[in-house]
């Protein structure tokens, strides 16, 4: 926290307010939310830091263009419910965004307070979370006034952040929306991927319920590409448009020997078992998962951090992230890395797995690894890891979680006529409108961009909604 600067200012500057958190030692063994949220006093203090700039740069940093200074001013004025309405004009899922957005690289990175270099930026994300949570408790479950139905209807493939955002935007304009979800629960990656301790499932459920109250229809257990196709939605069900937000959802493996040994999981499987299937409650829930003693996680992104922290909470004695570069190149959010370190996750850096070693009954027992060093920067600007000749060693483990990313799941693209994909299988769509090669079909989120963030998917959903309204002549 930057402190007081009495020489320049007469009144002391208020520092950026910390958000209370569960104690690291305690939380490493439970699935309750890590961050506890602002109380009214903290929120008021933090909101009062906002400079209320005439030209708010923060808004330009927000993929869904939330009116940030407006909602923060309303908090300052004590109108928290009003602030929530303001938020929801642009973002149908503020309780989720307030928790999982990488604000430090978006709105907050543009904040003038932080730009001065003397203070830290206004904690916009924490305020968003506070406002939305407050409204959920005190807002009496009111929904916005809806216009008369336009008679138009749109089908949405996938109930993840892109699809839910689009559904929320369209229903507010009188366009009927039906969302088709393959799993038994709504929310996509918000319920199968992001752990309970970062985003409680009850919050996702509440946000979905709000959309349902506004009239969005949901169909679960409905795999588009199998039970019916996008073409069926357009031709048989006569939807005026279809939005594909089916996510990345095809786990990548390193293709090294031993990856099919027992005890080796994709992060998707490990997290789905723990989150969606509630394996942490086993045997009260029926789905088991690995309760490894020594767990190794391949990868350095947010999903790797989520996997490592979940493994700790499931009772692992030692959890290590194996990453081939160093701490400063980790692609995960700083806050997530910080949380993982606090909770006791170990980092085996400059380490590249070569092979997973197995025993006779087919279980993983270790990882043969190569020691690396950093060389010259590569095309991405990151220093390229290079193997140190002869420096090969084994890491003992009983569980391996592969968290190196996701490819495009071909189920929807391959069953939709005349829908163009790129060489990685991602749907080709205009990044400003979501328009695909196919008439009346829009797409956005990870199925277009490859694995990215929740808020970018929300942004894509919002842009596609605007483009659809435009195409339908609805303003």
């Amino acid at each position: 926290m930057s402190g007081l600067d009495k020489k320049q200012d007469k009144k002391p500057k208020i520092p950026r307010q910390k958000m209370p958190e569960q104690d690291p030692i305690e939380r490493a063994h439970n699935f309750y939310e890590v961050a506890l949220g602002y109380n009214n006093d903290l929120a008021l203090l933090e909101a009062s830091r906002c400079l209320n700039c005439k030209k708010p740069f923060c808004m330009a940093g927000c993929p869904v263009e939330v009116d940030i200074p407006d909602f923060v001013s309303m908090v300052k004025a004590g109108d928290v419910i009003g602030a929530a309405w303001k938020l929801k004009e642009k973002n149908s899922l503020p309780r989720i965004a307030g928790r999982v957005c990488p604000q430090e690289s978006q709105c907050e990175s543009k904040c003038l307070l932080g730009k001065k270099g003397k203070a830290e930026p206004c904690a916009i994300g924490r305020l968003e979370r506070y406002v939305a949570d407050y409204a959920a408790v005190h807002g009496e479950g009111k929904i916005p006034e809806l216009p008369k139905p336009t008679g138009l209807k749109v089908g949405v493939v996938g109930s993840g952040p892109a699809g839910l955002t689009l559904a929320g935007a369209l229903i507010k304009k009188g366009i009927a929306v039906t969302v088709f979800e393959a799993l038994h629960e709504l929310g996509g990656v918000l319920v199968y991927g992001i752990p309970e301790f970062r985003l409680p499932k009850a919050i996702v459920r509440a946000e979905v319920d709000e959309l349902r109250k506004m009239g969005v229809e949901f169909k679960t257990n409905w795999v588009i590409g199998r039970i019916e196709t996008v073409d069926d939605l357009l031709e048989k069900r006569r939807f005026d448009g279809v939005f594909i937000g089916s996510g990345a959802g095809a786990p990548l493996f390193l293709k090294i020997p031993g990856e099919n040994l027992n005890g080796v999981y994709s992060a998707n499987e490990f997290l789905t078992r723990a989150n969606l299937m509630k394996a942490y409650l086993f045997p009260q829930s029926d789905t088991p998962t690995a309760k490894g003693r020594r767990v190794v996680v391949f990868g350095g992104g947010n999903v790797a951090m989520d996997s490592a922290r979940t493994a700790l909470r499931l009772g692992a004695e030692e959890v290590s992230i194996v990453y081939r570069r160093t701490m400063s190149e980790l692609p995960a959010r700083t806050e997530e890395v910080h949380h993982a370190v606090e909770e006791g996750v170990k980092f085996k850096l400059l380490t590249a797995p070569l092979e997973i070693l197995g025993n006779e009954s087919g279980w993983a027992v270790g990882v043969r690894s190569q020691q690396m060093e950093l060389g010259e920067p590569d095309a991405s600007g990151r220093r390229r890891p290079l193997p140190l000749p002869g420096q090969i060693f084994d890491v003992e483990c009983d569980t391996v979680i592969v968290a190196i990313g996701n490819g495009a799941n071909p189920l929807v693209p391959s069953t939709t006529k005349a829908l163009e994909t790129n060489r990685w299988g991602n749907i080709i769509a205009d990044l400003d409108t979501g328009k695909t090669s196919r008439e009346r079909v829009w797409a956005g989120g990870d199925i277009v961009t490859g694995a990215a963030t929740v808020i970018l998917a929300m942004g894509a959903g919002r842009k596609a909604a605007l483009a659809m309204m435009n195409a339908f002549g609805v303003s």
Partner: protein, 286 residues
């Protein structure tokens, strides 16, 4: 929720149920499967659809009690409901007129074999069906199979019914007679499929097997169902469930199927000790 309309016990620990699922019945093709959840805290388990009736809007499931979900389903009655039913999943069987098709079903594997055999028969193939089980009491659906086959051969390991021997011996007999087999479809316990493939490989007969790896989502998202076919890692749920039997690594499949042996026992014991069971005996359900 998906209501159970008919249910009967067709063998020791083996059940058959007709379930209301009009959308799945409409879209289903032979070879495809569903994933179900019994209740709110239930696991997702895959089961191949044994039959469907598009007019009545029903599908038929056949299962053997092996884990907590299948035991629980065994206690359910007509009128009870399954929490979730998702399907159809997986690729349909490639059905065309091949000539002579030999279908081999071992134990519970006869159930998924039924719609495939029916499809092959309807496509004009000469269908020879071999149904096998350890003993007479474990034979299922022999009458059903007989109706859609040109020849039906039944074998039991202990000789208590039909031919005394394994399905592989019956298959070898057909090959030895000089019958030209254009395609063999084998579904059953992994050791049986492995043994069948050892016979058909020598006789140079194309063989399709349907695999039952452990799955979670069933849409290609989690990769739990990894199988090795022809040296390549594929996903049972979206690349299968049917594969070229001659290329499948059955030993790996067997090892992967045993991955949760310990937890499965814990879950089963927990199930037996807690009052979950027939929903009609316990108003309000489990």
């Amino acid at each position: 929720m998906f209501e159970i309309l008919e249910k009967e016990r067709i063998g020791p620990g083996v059940h058959r149920a007709v379930i209301s699922a009009p959308d799945i019945a409409r879209a289903h093709h032979p070879g495809q499967f569903i994933i179900l959840r019994t209740h709110e805290d239930g696991e997702r388990i895959p089961l191949t659809v044994a039959d469907k009736d598009r007019d009545k809007g029903t599908i038929t499931l056949v299962w053997q009690e092996v884990g907590v979900s299948t035991y629980y389903m065994g206690t359910m009655c007509v009128g009870d409901k399954l929490q979730d039913l998702c399907g159809p999943l997986g690729k349909p069987t490639h059905i065309e007129k091949f000539g002579t098709v030999v279908g081999i079903g071992g134990g519970i594997g006869v159930a998924p074999l039924y719609p495939i055999t029916k499809g092959m028969h309807d496509a004009g193939n000469h269908v020879i069906t071999i149904v096998g089980a350890r003993t007479q009491g474990l034979l299922i659906m022999t009458e059903d199979m007989n109706k859609i086959s040109d020849e039906t051969l039944i074998a039991t390991d202990d000789g208590s019914f039909g031919i005394h021997g394994f399905v592989t011996q019956v298959l070898q007999g057909i090959i030895n007679k000089g019958t030209k087999i254009d395609l063999c479809v084998a579904i059953g316990p992994v050791p049986m499929m492995k043994a069948v493939v050892n016979v058909t490989r020598k006789a140079d007969v194309s063989t399709v097997v349907s695999l039952n790896p452990i799955m979670v989502d069933g849409t290609g998202m989690c990769g739990a169902c990894r199988v090795e076919v022809g040296g390549k890692t594929l996903f049972g749920c979206v690349d299968g469930p049917e594969f070229n039997g001659l290329e499948v690594d059955f030993d790996l499949l067997m090892k992967r199927l045993s991955m949760y042996k310990g937890p499965e026992l814990i879950a089963l014991n927990n199930f037996r000790e807690t009052p979950r069971g027939c929903q009609c005996a316990l108003p309000g359900g489990a």
